[in-house]
Symmetry: C2
Amino acid sequence: MSQGSGNTPPKRPLTLRDVSEASGVSEMTVSRVLRNRGDVSEATRAKVLEAARELGYVPNKIAGALASSRVNLVAVIIPSMSNMVFPEVMTGINDVLEGTELQAVVGITNYKPEREETVLYQMLSWRPSGVIIAGLEHTEAAKAMMGAAGIPIVEIMDTDGEAIDSAVGISHRRAGRKMAQAIIDAGYKRIGFLGTKMPLDHRARKRFEGFTEVLAKSGLEITDSEFYSGGSALKKGREMTEAILKRNVDEPLDFLYYSNDMIGAGGLMYCLDNGIDVPGDIGLAGFNGIEFLDGLPRKLATMDACRLEIGRAAAEIIAKRVESDGPAGGEIITLEPSLEIGDTLKRKKKPL
Amino acid sequence: MSQGSGNTPPKRPLTLRDVSEASGVSEMTVSRVLRNRGDVSEATRAKVLEAARELGYVPNKIAGALASSRVNLVAVIIPSMSNMVFPEVMTGINDVLEGTELQAVVGITNYKPEREETVLYQMLSWRPSGVIIAGLEHTEAAKAMMGAAGIPIVEIMDTDGEAIDSAVGISHRRAGRKMAQAIIDAGYKRIGFLGTKMPLDHRARKRFEGFTEVLAKSGLEITDSEFYSGGSALKKGREMTEAILKRNVDEPLDFLYYSNDMIGAGGLMYCLDNGIDVPGDIGLAGFNGIEFLDGLPRKLATMDACRLEIGRAAAEIIAKRVESDGPAGGEIITLEPSLEIGDTLKRKKKPL
DNA sequence: CCGCAATATGTTAGCGTTAACGGTTTTTGT
DNA sequence: ACAAAAACCGTTAACGCTAACATATTGCGG
């Protein structure tokens, strides 16, 4: 009753040949058994499986991929891992890929276009079955590579622009517009904007553009704004809020629009701690719909970015195309971000 | 001035041969140029590079890996992506790997041992240069696979137990003990515990064990406890706190120990919202040291789990071993989690 | 008991790259 | 000027597996 891998640790890595010899059949038959492909008698199947188990054999996908020219990897290229949003997209992607043969390989760009280009190049050199990449803005070289790769490419998060192949996301411009409209409808007039100092965060920029565009239509504009980079977003939200409010004591602001929920939550806490009536004195809104807003003393108005759903849909596009192995493409899925009014965007107090 | 890849999209994927033909040198020379290995004259180097650029050639690492039997992948196997902690570990890993040839491939286990086994098997079939895997508890089969793989294995997060090869983490038992001691020293007596309903979260269990152990030594025990699973942790923290406090009105609790900062933060908010004096009436502590605690109205006592540092150190062990390509090993790094007293674990009010 | 279809197994030839070694040329030291 | 060393580049044979095509082996109707 040998227990498998209790044997001496093999110096030379195991190959099909070892299993083949141990079980007395050809390498091809072993290969067939291990992949459940082709006809193999129940007897030999058992024999082979036993031998493989016994030896502790693990197939070599590198060799398999080269021989069959099928690589079950999906390249996922995202800017960062440190702010809840991309991990959640990843979760969505993994959820779907778990049900398939596909495996995600992640590359992080840190919001740097050149870095994205490098990462993409490295990823493509694994000849993945597909690419999921954040954003629609890439260097010319990157676009060229993706265009020539001959595999499904899904650009995620954003649909305001020209996709190379497929895309899944929301319109950030529209999200900005929608929020602006809601704020205007609620009667707010003196609006502050607080966001990240990230010239390369195109999605934040687009939201901002949509936002100001709608304000302009109503003859309004951003009264003041404040930007940050790095650090604890929650804390920064507090600090920035304090700064912008103190800068506008004479003619106080009546609304603050934050470019993400984290700083928004910080702002909300600042207000509550300082006895500022939200949304009576001032309204607040963020962006993303991150789960933990549920636990805050007041629910921050926000707009859901459909992160999980984006991950799922993107992975599904790849999975579908891999199995149908058709070159069909050009699927654009625009998800509709839902506005969540929460408790911080009610119609403001009217003087009786 | 041909612009590269503006040509007709190639049906047949490009190979070294194409570049070789286009530049009039042997495939071997092209290979040498593209890898910066071996002697190549400046003239041919330029010629080859130009041809490669022109064609839009991307090397095939699958073939390269097979030929050289060097695969620059690191398998990273973690339970989840959805709770801040593992993304942060990933960030640490990526930080280090960026400076090397190595690429991380992530597998998610959802805290299921069988799933871990499957994922590990799939990962190993890529013949990675190393494995970084969360926890010390694995199925027998998984341990056997890792033992036989002949590559560096780094088990992360936890060092309370037997490592297969190397390990980087903290002692969760010790973390639990340390927190218990701090709580006792501050004079708290009636202690509630709030945590996750996760029989398979060994690290949470170990913290709990260490915690109760030290309480026992002082003749104390957990007065009451509350468990949850799923949902918004912040909100759950509120709800559980409310529940446990309402259940103990006659002889009120004077301390709540949360198994993670998220529910701890929820609890803190519940207390503040309800006029409970923290830490006068009741002390609070969490675990993890997540960044956003900085922004809370009161800083929750916590214990840093050194996540970024763990990721970094683990990646460094792999990187070092890959380049020295020595089989040396068995490095155990136990990081010391620092207790952060914050504002919620001060000595309680003494009756004058 | 022959022949033809399954079924079951083996053989051959790559997949695209790199290691290892072999030739040329060029450079260098004396 | 000539050997020895260096620089440069090509040839051959894997790497471990699988597609595609043989080749047994079995079953079964007529």
